[in-house]
């Protein structure tokens, strides 16, 4: 058989294994249902701003001497609909009847059970402006003169620290990236280990290894589950962006969101190579499904710590700890894309983190494949890591 044919059959073996994983796991009822549920949730979340934003302007009732002035003030702010009542009692009754959310009359703010900070601030400042206007009028100024006296310019914002949190939206972008990265690593990593144990416990691995090399079997599994995860992710992103575009909210996404999402896929690929092959390697140490949890614990712990690290980082993105956390593998797989979404990261730090993560992934590939090769045919009680490494292939 020629080298080319041998090469082809090697790739074919790898792809057959990956294809089986995609067909059997990807089309399994559990995966299809969880994908549908996730997509529906993502769709609802994406539609939420539109639904909440559509409840129209806030209705405010006004009464008393300052009512016309306040009406003018609130109209200038916009997004408030005002109704003027004859007296304070009428305004109070309107609040009680639910006709208006709040009412201002004779220096009192009526509401059912308090108002939110934003409405309070708007009404306060409108009331003050109206009162000042009334006082100035009482002091003998014409309306034009009082308007001139009241004319002010709003504050201009100047940020001194670079790399601070860009905005609340960036915070949420980072939060979503960290959650999705965590889920996208956790689920396939467990499936890989379970799949390896399934083949071992059902002894089918012995037949498989007569026509496949261990690396094809492990590699095919990692690739197959990676493809399933990517398909799930693409479905989520497509539905999320689709709904956002459909409801006309696409423009309100943060500027860097698209590029952050794209670079996250790159980070995910490297991190998945690391965790996926390690999961296959440690999975081969046990022969029974019940024992899979114990060997997976270190991997699940590091994934959970990476996620918690990302949450910490979201709240203190410029701290030294966050900086270190986002560079050291394997944590950088989740923490760095999160940090990149929320703040500007120097290029050298990104390069260093990626280089270290890639090096760790190569090491994990070697370790995972070695563990797998040496222990996949061993049945019985759980193999210790050191025993597995000492075993001959």
């Amino acid at each position: 058989m020629s080298d080319q044919n041998a090469e082809m059959s090697r790739m074919r073996g790898l792809m057959l294994v990956a294809g089986r994983e995609i067909r059997v796991r990807g089309l399994s009822r559990a995966n299809v249902i969880s994908l549908i549920v996730t997509v529906v949730i993502v769709g609802i979340l994406a539609a939420l701003p539109a639904i909440i934003g559509d409840d129209g302007p806030t209705e405010v009732g006004l009464a008393g001497a300052n009512a016309p002035a306040m009406e003018a003030q609130l109209e200038a702010v916009g997004d408030y609909e005002t109704t003027v009542y004859d007296d304070a009692d009428g305004a109070e009754q309107a609040v009680a009847d639910g006709e208006v959310e709040a009412a201002v009359a004779d220096g009192k703010l009526y509401s059912e059970d308090g108002v939110d900070a934003e409405l309070q601030a708007v009404l306060d400042s409108a009331w003050q402006a109206a009162s000042v206007e009334a006082n100035l009028a009482a002091a003998g100024l014409t309306p034009e003169e009082s308007q001139q006296a009241l004319a002010t310019e709003s504050l201009e914002s100047v940020t001194l620290s670079e790399g601070g949190v860009n905005s609340t939206l960036d915070y949420f972008a980072g939060l979503i990236i960290s959650i999705v990265m965590f889920m996208m690593l956790m689920t396939p990593v467990q499936y890989i280990a379970m799949g390896v144990v399934e083949e071992k416990s059902s002894r089918i691995v012995e037949i498989l290894l007569t026509s496949l090399k261990p690396w094809q079997l492990l590699g095919g599994k990692v690739i197959g589950l990676g493809v399933i995860s990517l398909i799930n992710l693409v479905a989520m992103v497509a539905v999320g962006l689709g709904v956002a575009a459909g409801t006309g909210r696409l423009d309100s996404l943060p500027d860097g969101m698209a590029s952050a999402a794209l670079s996250s896929i790159g980070w995910w690929l490297v991190a998945f190579a690391l965790f996926g092959t390690l999961a296959g390697g440690v999975g081969s140490l046990v022969s029974r499904q019940e024992d899979a949890g114990s060997v997976l614990t270190p991997l699940i712990m590091s994934l959970t710590l990476s996620y918690l690290g990302a949450i910490f980082l979201l709240n203190a993105p410029t701290s030294t700890f966050a900086q270190i956390l986002s560079i050291v593998p394997p944590f950088s797989g989740i923490t760095m894309p999160t940090r990149m979404a929320i703040t500007d990261v120097p290029a050298w730090e990104i390069a260093l983190a990626l280089g270290l993560l890639a090096a760790a992934a190569v090491g994990a590939l070697a370790l995972g494949a070695t563990l797998y090769k040496r222990s996949v045919l061993y049945t019985g009680s759980r193999l210790k890591l050191t025993e597995a490494l000492k075993r001959a292939a």
Partner: protein, 289 residues
Amino acid sequence: MLEIKDLKKRFGDTVALDGVSLSAEPGEVVGFVGANGAGKTTAMRIAMGVLAADSGEIVYNGAPLGTEQRRRFGYMPSERGLYPKMKTGDQIAYFGELHGMSRAEAKRSTAELLEQLNLTGRIGDNVQDLSLGNQQRVQLAVSLVHDPEVLILDEPFSGLDPIAVDVMGTALKERAAAGAPVIFSSHQLDLVERLCDSVVIIGAGKIIASGSVEELKAREVKQLRVRVDTAEDLTAQLPGKVERDGEDYLVEGADDQEVLRIAAAAGRVTHFAYDQPTIAEIFREAVTK
């Protein structure tokens, strides 16, 4: 022709194989017999490349066996294994593809095998929903789907009902008739005797006897069984060591022609033959030696 040459394998301090050699010609069915732990499974695993030998080699048609050729072998391990949550038809076809068949070929071959094994109705069922006997049939289909050049089967008959045993036996004979060397291990020695052209007996990692079934039986022959239609007691007249076994005389260490002459003189000889041991007796003899 498949040759297993001088295999040696140790697991830690345990010697599993100590110079095991056996061979199977095209069309030959070889029975591999031995007590539990004698080394059958280890030898077969090494032949299938699942385990590496410490020394020795596997030669196929005159050249060391390579991975590509091995993919055209059919193997059934002693520890049965199937994907429990995969459909029967998909599973068999998947193994066909792993053995180098195209998707269409694998599907066609799967349909044919399921027909032969009376499993056509279960093609879309998950393997875990089949009875144990039917799972065994699927296991056989997995080892036959790619029309293997060589069959190596570890305990293919264990756990089979009598009908499945017949199906399996016929399948082995068919493959052999098509020119495939077939090696299988079994504890059911009556089956070995019925199906095999030759038998290899292994004990504690060493081959203790091997040869065609006739050769082995002839080698162990000792007693001449004679039945004569007469009321007379011939014990004293017959030469050599004579014993009675019911109506029969069992004669050892005598000239058979002389025995025949004396017996014929006494009456009508209704039975005159050397007792042939069963493979089971040969096995017990060989193992306890």
